[in-house]
């Protein structure tokens, strides 16, 4: 099993690398650290751009990759790759296909947005076009002291792809041997599509409980006996506050699915996940709504 880490020698890149190491250790996977450089292209300027520059850039990039590789603890298999593409995100996706990797890991930090998960431009592009699960490391993930993933929280509602999300979460927990915490996002929220204006709060509550119960049963039946699975109903007036009420610890991981607006095999950040990104202090994995051959 292989994980592609999209890397730049920035703090955000190191966040991604740290998360990649945690995941690799938990899943028993190999890490492929990938950096994508813009290709050499003649620019219309009066002075020809010094063509030796590209070699200098490539050798600098190679040094960055080598430093990254040596910063990964020795119990993890690591390989480094340098490729060229106008778009960093597309270059990463191409590497995933070429290497047969099962997921992409990147640092999500961008430019000065609020909350732990500001989404930078590469992450945003990936969120919109990756066909494999995408793990986003929050700002500061590199300071985490957790060696492995401690618990997986899977937040799901009733939108398309929830079944895929549940299956992926179950498989992941089994492989990582971590407890699974299910969170039902049938929240008391005007955007929620289960609501009917004639519903009373009790009706909504009943529906939420029912959904939670059925999800729990589905998960338990797919996992071995005594495998620790729990379910919580997220409570609150909005998704962000619902997520805030939950307990989070270092080493936790959150999995969410993409919304029904996504194209098949492509991720699109639904409103729920976008809201959660703003307030989560832990890494988030976004799972495409359809299964792809190599998914974990």
């Amino acid at each position: 099993m292989r994980l592609v880490v999209g890397y730049l020698a920035t703090p955000s890149g190191e966040d991604g690398l740290a998360l990649g190491a945690q995941l690799a250790r938990s899943l028993g996977a190999q890490l492929d650290i990938c950096m994508v450089l813009p290709p050499d292209r003649t620019v219309p300027a009066r002075v020809p751009a010094e063509t030796g520059y590209d070699d200098i850039l490539a050798s600098r990039a190679q040094r960055w990759l080598d430093e990254a590789k040596s910063s990964v603890p020795s119990d993890i298999d690591v390989d480094v790759h340098l490729s060229f593409h106008e778009s960093f995100a597309q270059g990463l996706i191409d590497e995933v296909s070429r290497l047969g990797a099962q997921a992409i890991v990147v640092g999500a930090a961008g430019d000065g947005l609020l909350g732990r998960h500001s989404v930078g431009s590469v992450s945003t592009e990936l969120l919109h076009s990756a066909h494999v699960p995408l793990a986003l490391a929050p700002r500061g993930a590199r300071h985490s002291s957790a060696k492995k993933i401690r618990e997986v929280t899977c937040a799901l509602g009733t939108r398309t792809g929830a079944d895929v999300l549940l299956r992926t979460a179950v498989r992941t927990c089994e492989r990582m041997q971590t407890p699974l915490r299910l969170v039902s996002l049938v929240a008391l929220d005007p955007q929620n599509d289960l609501r009917d204006h004639r519903d009373t709060p009790d009706d909504i509550r009943d529906r939420a409980v029912a959904h939670a119960q059925s999800t729990l049963e589905a998960a338990k039946s797919a996992l071995p006996e005594d495998f620790p699975v729990s379910v919580t109903i997220a409570d609150g007036s909005s998704v962000e506050s619902a997520v805030r009420t939950l307990d989070w610890q270092d080493g936790d991981l959150v999995m969410v699915g993409s919304s029904r607006l996504a194209q098949p095999h492509r991720l699109f950040l639904g409103s729920t996940a976008a809201k959660m990104l703003r307030v989560l202090p832990v890494p988030m994995v976004v799972v495409p709504k359809q299964e792809f051959e190599n998914s974990e």
Binding site: P39, T42, P44, R46, V47, E50, Y53
Partner: protein, 526 residues
């Protein structure tokens, strides 16, 4: 470790840095690239004033005279580039051919030339910005704003700051945008010329000169000094067309496309210049009154004065817009080679090492870009306060700088290939005859302009201590470079001892090689 095509990297672990853009550029696109590099809208605006001030009606002759050495020396670039496409431009080639000192001075000339043109581009962008706004809002007083030095410098600094910021984020223009800009410029320039000629034809032109073939004859009626200074303007006008000659792997047919693209490009440029200059002269004459091209008030900005009378209200506005976007686009793209040349020189130890820094986030030369922006801003500010007609003086200085580094490159070509010059007719022509002739011509212009530039009357009239400002901007800066070079020589001599870059250096493999030349590069740990 493999590169994106899955091909194994070479034995010592370096990666071929050629990315995905191979085989995409045809003859026509290559020519567009070349024309885009020259930015004819901007170039004509900048150079017509200087050329007319120097040679009056002989402008067409001067364009042809300037074209010849620029055409010939460009082939030196092509030959050197096809020999070692991975390895650099003027700086690396001249160092390999003539050693570190000449190479350093050549690189310096190139960097300074780029800085001067950056400040020039920003200045013209500012002028046409105000002209365009004035036209758009029908408020003619706005057009006079650039006349106020503080407004001028202030706005220019803003433009330079913006361009620096954009360049440091690694943002570049797309190919479609380039084509659109070139098309836009060319359409308006041709329209201008044609309409001017129509005016001449039906007698509504202020000067209405009749066409005279003697305008194309450089050998009569021109003093040497005037000829040479006019030539610097013309040399500047053709600067950059050789970009399409160095396309290499990116072109569809690397053997033929660059050559054809180059010919198409340079022919187009030459014809456009001749057409526009003849039309402008026939329309406005070269007198010093009114719309005459020799009028000092107009010489800095020929289109500014003529756009309206020739093309009318809307046409004039479009012409301003064309020159404005041409300058802004060129300003943006020119940051790239400025920063990259400084980075390469820094990486080889010729310039301070800090210039070799690459931004880990944007993957562009971070420090070098900022330095380029700051030096450009300082240069422009100083020259504006020293000169009444900054653009004239800087273009002349630029011409001198181009003669310097193009000349050295041309001789570097001949010297570098000296063992193989006559192995074939083709080599004899392109590696010997063309570069040598072109180099000698540029060298002659350079030498003669040492003396001529000291006379302030040859350019804008600005002077320091009685000596023309152009002399200081051109030769003064070269002398300053020599001083800086000696300082570098003493503070970090590795480059000057030939340890980092010599004839045998192929592509730069590993920066570690630069400091520890005696050990082989460590094998990549895989």
């Amino acid at each position: 470790m493999t590169n994106s095509e899955g091909a194994p990297a070479s034995a010592d672990g370096a990666v071929s840095a050629k990315g995905l853009a191979t085989g995409a550029v045809g003859t026509f696109s290559g020519a567009i690239l070349g024309i885009s590099s020259v930015a004819p809208g901007y170039t004509l605006t900048a150079s017509i004033g200087l050329i007319v001030a120097a040679v009056g009606l002989k402008m067409p002759a001067i364009f042809i005279a300037g074209f010849i050495p620029m055409f010939l020396t460009a082939y030196a670039y092509r030959e050197l580039n096809s020999e070692s496409p991975d390895c650099g431009a003027s700086f690396t080639w001249s160092t390999k051919a003539f050693g570190p000192y000449v190479g350093w001075m050549c690189g310096w000339g190139m960097v300074i030339a780029t800085i001067i043109v950056l400040s020039n581009l920003a200045a013209i962008a500012v002028q046409f910005f105000y002209l365009f706004i004035a036209k758009l809002f029908d408020a003619p007083s706005i057009a006079d704003l650039p006349g106020n030095k503080f407004v001028n410098v202030g706005t220019t600094l803003v433009f330079i700051a913006l361009a620096t910021w954009i360049a440091s984020r690694g943002i570049t223009t797309s190919e479609r945008l380039q084509v659109a800009l070139v098309g836009f410029q060319m359409v308006l320039l041709i329209a201008f010329a044609v309409v001017a000629l129509v005016h001449v034809g039906n007698g509504s032109a202020p000067a209405g000169l009749s066409f005279d073939l003697s305008w194309f004859n450089p050998f009569t009626g021109l003093a040497l000094g005037a000829f040479v200074i006019g030539l610097t303007g013309s040399i500047f006008a053709f600067w950059g067309w050789d970009t399409c000659l160095t396309l290499g792997e990116e072109s569809k047919n690397p053997k033929k496309t660059p050559g054809r693209a180059g010919l198409l490009c340079v022919a187009t440029i030459l014809l456009t210049y001749l057409l526009v200059s003849v039309a402008a002269m026939m329309y406005a004459g070269v007198g010093e009154d009114g719309l005459g091209l020799g009028n000092p008030d107009n010489s800095e900005n020929v289109f500014g004065a003529l756009a309206d009378p020739v093309l009318g209200n809307w046409g004039g506005m479009l012409l301003f817009l064309a020159v404005f976007v041409s300058s802004v686009a060129s300003l943006q793209t020119t940051f790239l080679p400025a920063a990259r040349t400084m980075l390469a020189m820094g990486a080889y130890g010729a310039f301070p090492k800090k210039l070799a820094e690459v931004s880990p986030r944007f993957l562009v030369p971070s420090y070098a870009t900022v330095v380029a922006g700051v030096v450009t801003a300082v240069f422009y500010t100083v020259v504006t306060f020293l000169s009444e007609r900054t653009l004239l003086d800087t273009i002349a200085a630029l011409g001198i700088m181009i003669c310097w580094y193009y000349g050295i490159t041309a001789f570097a070509c001949v010297w570098y290939f000296r063992g193989r010059l006559f192995t074939s007719v083709r080599n004899a022509v392109f590696r010997f005859a063309f570069p040598l002739l072109g180099g000698l011509m540029l060298f002659a212009v350079f030498v003669i302009s040492i003396d001529e530039s000291m006379d302030p009357e040859n350019a804008s009239g600005a002077s320091i201590g009685g000596i023309g400002l152009v002399f200081f901007l051109g030769f003064g800066i070269l002398l300053l470079g020599a001083v800086l070079m000696m300082i570098m020589r003493f503070s970090s001599p590795a480059f000057f001892r030939g340890e980092t870059l010599n004839r045998d250096t192929s592509a730069l493999r590993d920066e570690g090689d630069l400091t520890a030349r005696s050990e082989p590069a460590p094998p990549s740990p895989r």
